[in-house]
């Protein structure tokens, strides 16, 4: 029998081929560009009609667009006369000098010209820190993430606002113990009263935490609780110190911010705030404690059930009424609160989807290893669940980025708002100004959103591959 496999030897049954035969090439009608065209373009009469319709549509859309944005466009000029067909002598497409003239307003809003370097530093640092986070092979991921999510926001906050907030009261001050500290005394621009208050409050908080833990969990737990409290307070202290120290930066009010700056500030804040809060809410929704569960469900469903614009109105007009009268909140901050509430509720639902997809065996395995609830979530469940829902998270980010445009309805000038303000400039009133402006803004929004969606697709593919191994 073994010689029948050798191919050379005759099979005992002469009519059976001893070796595999090379497959025949397909018939010529099934190959080549003609065959492809028949399968994909001209297979039948309706196919031909559809193809013709598609080609006509392309012909109707693409050449006019190219003419408008490139060949007929005006590229240089100083005022509207450069873009008037009567002065140019031919039909005019996009009026790009309009964009060049307004580019500062579109990127910085009314941020003072001498201080724009601060915005540029924030943009550049953000890009520098974000890029290695997105590239899978770049090293120091953990450090990078800590810097990007922990240090960078504080830095950006100080740079953009100018820092040097005159902090006066901490916890004890608000509780009515102002008299304990010398008012008005300053050391190096820092209020003695505030920092004394801060240090005393931290110590008291640590003591209270230690006392409670000791009562609840036994004598060993007090020290740990005190240490954790002090670490949290120390981190908070560093942030407060950064905001309090006078770096010599000119303060810039947020109502001067505008354009792309506001768009990015809102989007990035919404994204960084919504992820942790969304995770907490999702865990709350799956909690076994009825009160935690019900309040999470109510919170999530309420914000998801109303349009973002009503949330922004809520934050702008209704929230100030709910807060103590002497507390005035900055307009941009109000919008940020609204966006954060809204985005957290949506993020919670995405994360919940991931949590539900984790098989019960994972929970049981973690419990069998003796992991307590918090560690089980942190080490076993959440890493898998978040990985599963990365596409959903990025989709949320894209939605959030698009939703930042809504702040123009509460009179905050984001990119679209700045563009709309630029349209009203009579110096640039030409027949094509509107289309040029919308074209430019559209390209900016498209680049950001499309980039995010492509990145998420690539990531999804990579994670999918990793999962299969």
């Amino acid at each position: 029998m073994s010689d029948s496999t050798s191919g050379q030897a005759l099979s005992p049954h002469a009519f059976v081929s001893a070796a595999f035969r090379e497959p025949e090439p397909p018939p010529t009608s099934d190959r080549g560009p003609l065959r492809w065209a028949r399968a994909h373009l001209f297979g039948s009469v309706p196919q031909v009609l559809l193809t013709l319709f598609g080609i006509w549509l392309l012909y109707a859309v693409i050449p006019p667009l190219v003419r408008f944005f490139i060949t007929d466009a005006v590229w240089e000029g100083t005022n509207r006369n450069a873009c008037l067909p009567a002065d140019v002598g031919h039909s005019v497409g996009a009026c790009w000098p309009f964009i060049w003239a307004k580019i500062n307003q579109l990127t910085y809003g009314f941020y003072p010209a001498d201080e724009r370097w601060r915005v540029n530093v924030v943009y550049a640092l953000g890009a520098l820190l974000l890029l290695p986070l997105l590239i899978q092979k770049a090293p120091y991921k953990r450090l990078n993430a800590i810097v990007f999510f922990g240090v960078y926001p504080v830095l950006a906050f100080v740079l953009l606002t100018g820092g040097n907030f005159a902090l006066r009261h901490f916890l004890l001050g608000y509780l009515g113990f102002d008299g304990l500290f010398p008012a008005g005394a300053e050391v190096g621009g820092l209020s003695v009263a505030f920092w004394a208050d801060f240090i005393l409050s931290s110590a008291l908080l640590a003591l209270v935490a230690a006392g409670i833990s000791r009562a609840v969990a036994g004598p060993g737990a007090g020290r740990g609780a005190a240490r954790s409290t002090l670490i949290v307070m120390a981190l908070l202290g560093v942030v407060l110190l950064a905001a309090d120290v006078n770096f010599g930066l000119v303060p810039v009010e947020t109502r001067l911010w505008g354009g792309l700056l506001v768009t990015l500030v809102i989007a990035v804040t919404g994204i960084t705030v919504s992820l942790p809060f969304g995770i907490l809410l999702a865990l709350g929704r799956r909690s076994k404690l009825p009160l935690v569960k019900i309040s999470s469900i109510l919170f999530i469903e309420f914000w998801r059930g109303v349009p973002l614009i009503t949330v922004l109105f809520f934050a702008t007009y209704m929230l100030p009424l709910f807060l103590p009268g002497q507390l005035t909140i900055d307009g941009l901050l109000r919008a940020l609160v609204g966006v954060a509430l809204f985005a957290s509720a949506y993020m919670a639902e995405v994360v919940r989807g991931g949590l539900q997809a984790i098989p019960k065996g994972q929970y049981e395995g973690a419990m069998a290893l003796g992991l307590p609830g918090s560690l089980m979530m942190r080490l076993v469940v959440l890493p898998q669940a978040l990985k599963l829902v990365i596409p959903g998270i990025v989709n949320n980010f894209i939605g959030l980025f698009k939703d930042t445009t809504l702040v123009l309805i509460v009179s905050i000038f984001d990119l679209l708002g700045a563009m709309r303000a630029a349209f009203t400039d009579p110096n640039w009133a030409t027949p094509t100004t509107l289309f040029t402006g919308f074209g430019f803004a559209g390209i900016v929004y498209f680049v950001f959103c499309f980039g995010m969606s492509r990145y998420s697709m690539a990531l999804e593919k990579r994670l999918d591959r990793a999962q299969r191994h």
Binding site: V216, G218, P320, L321, K402, I409
Partner: protein, 431 residues
Amino acid sequence: MSDARLSDPAPPRGRRWSWTDPKLRSSVIQITLALILVWLAWSFYANAEANLSRLGIASGFGFLDDRAGFAISQTLIPYNENMSYGRAFLVGLLNTLLVAFFGIILATILGFLVGVARLSKNVVIKALASAYVEITRNLPPLFQIMFWYLAVLAALPTPRQSWGIGLQPIFSGIASGLSAIGLGGLAAPFSGLAEGVGAPDVYINNRGLILPRPVFGEGSSGILIALAVAVVVSFIIARWAKKRREATGQQFPVFLTGLGLIIVLPFLAAAAVGFPVHLEVPQLRGFNFAGGVSVIPEFVALLIALSTYTAGFIAEIVRSGILAVSKGQSEAAHSLGLRGGPTLRLVVIPQAMRVIVPPLTSQYLNLTKNSSLGVAVGYPDLFAVFAGTTLNQTGQAIEIIAMTMAVYLVISIVTSLVMGWYNKRVALVER
């Protein structure tokens, strides 16, 4: 029995409480949460009361009966500025529902077409559909609304040079196109046709869309009654046919019978009372149109933007729904002897719908919620009329924003209840 190691050790003294005790932990967490919530509610209430009295703002819903004093550009029910805020609220709500209703219809049609086109074998159609989806989904809806309103509709001609939409412009367009490429001889019949069909009935210009208005004369109610009867009868026939099919296996052309009934019965009724319905065609008089219904440009811009934006998402839902039905299903249907049409209708689409419908409803909800963006172009929807103008005039932020949010919440909750019922109906029955 005497072995002390087997019995439970006595709990250590002074440690009767343990953080690892789930009962204790859950009550501590919940009591803390309850305290925080109560404190928040109380401080919100106290602050609101103090702030309102400080700012001199009234509270309560009494303002709903006050005179509104502002005009609304589109009203589905009679309204003038002497009517109350409550009436204005209703007008705004109806305007929101109107744009949502037509937006949902248009977005569904366009979305299904584009979604199917993305699965087409034809590469040109596929590429066009993909480009459509990427562009509409990646631009903010507010951007699209403002683009259509500020850039496109404002660039349309004045009423005197309105664009007609109808057969005449199409025929005359074909005629001029033919003569432009040197086939003047073929153009004559088309220009003849253009003459023959007369002036178009629908016009679009920078003041909006002008449509013919159906005018119902004496006896029109008979037609309506006939229509209702036809619908009820077709429903009864459908139930009977289903019962008979399940009992005997015999088919009955339910769809054709129903369609026939719904067309023929009202027609007969109309003939009986002498065709009392006619279309009032808009006509250009001076600088504007007389007759017909004119639709405000804000509505047109909002409708186009919302439906094209949502259609991009619906297209993706439809595509993934169709792809979710495995190929084996249609192959099995073919091997049972079903042809293309019945395979789609009886096998593929029912299964795809199970995947499509839940996300589709959430898109419908999104469209309804996004209709509040009409405030940016001045469309008088619920949000613009109530949270915009009324809030400005009365300053009663708490009541007004709460009422506005409540309306959207009720719409969301009702939709999700209906969805839950539908999902239960179509869910796979597993053994």
